[in-house]
Amino acid sequence: MSEMSKIVRTISNSLFPFIMIYGLYVIMHGHLTPGGGFQGGAVVASGCALILVAYSSGWVFKKVKESNLSILESIGAIGFISLAFLGIGVTFFYNFIAGSGLLFGEIPPVGPNSGNLNTAGLLPLMNLSVGLKVIAGLFAIVAVMAFVASRRMRKK
């Protein structure tokens, strides 16, 4: 896959930050609104895929190494399971931060409210680590597939 025209590149350049911010918003607000780690991660990864399509997979692989992506992916997964492990004093997956007043530890008010980001305990942290895993994983999948396909085309 070679580089696309300047128009495509410019437009994807200007779209990319918005897609990123929207994806990160979805990850961050996972415990309040529909969405969460996977959905936001998929949005961010699709933004990365847009860059991939606009600028050829070879260019992307000069900037990002596939092995680094898999490290990020492992860290995301380890983070998720470690957070679950932290609650093992009570039960596995026990939400010990909720209602404790720590980060994300406020007790949400009962009934309709405006949505306080600083609630829900472990859930936002888990959303973050799942988001990290999904961004790295999906981007690696798309990038590797594009890279293999483009190498194949060049051979012909």
Partner: protein
């Protein structure tokens, strides 16, 4: 009757997907068939979660009416996540098979038989 339309679509999607998997010979089309079946099943799950005159289970400025139980939505999401992994792995198998066999025709990809 109107509430049954999603279920009819579910059955149609699953039948189309199964027909694709059985009758299409191209590996990529087989993968597409599996994905269509998966969409049918996902639609089925999400339809089960529908309740008339209820709102989505989001607390932000929600009117104080009935909310739906978000379990079917959670199931559908999980199944979508799994579906992504399945599709990615199948497609990478298809790429590898194309590299080795030079074809995607399932009738020619049969070194293992008897």
């Amino acid at each position: 009757m109107i509430y049954n339309i999603p279920f009819i679509v579910v059955v149609l999607l699953i039948i189309v997907g199964l027909a694709t998997v059985v009758f299409k010979r191209n590996l990529i089309k087989i993968v597409i068939g599996i994905t269509i079946i998966e969409s049918g099943v996902n639609l089925f799950l999400i339809t089960l979660g529908y309740r008339e005159n209820s709102v989505a289970p989001i607390y932000t400025f929600a009117p104080s009416t009935k909310m739906v139980l978000p379990v079917p939505q959670a199931l559908t999401l999980t199944s979508i996540v799994i579906g992504v992994a399945v599709m990615a792995l199948m497609l990478s198998f298809a790429i590898r098979i194309y590299q080795h066999y030079g074809t995607l025709d399932s009738r020619k990809i049969r070194r293992l038989r008897e």
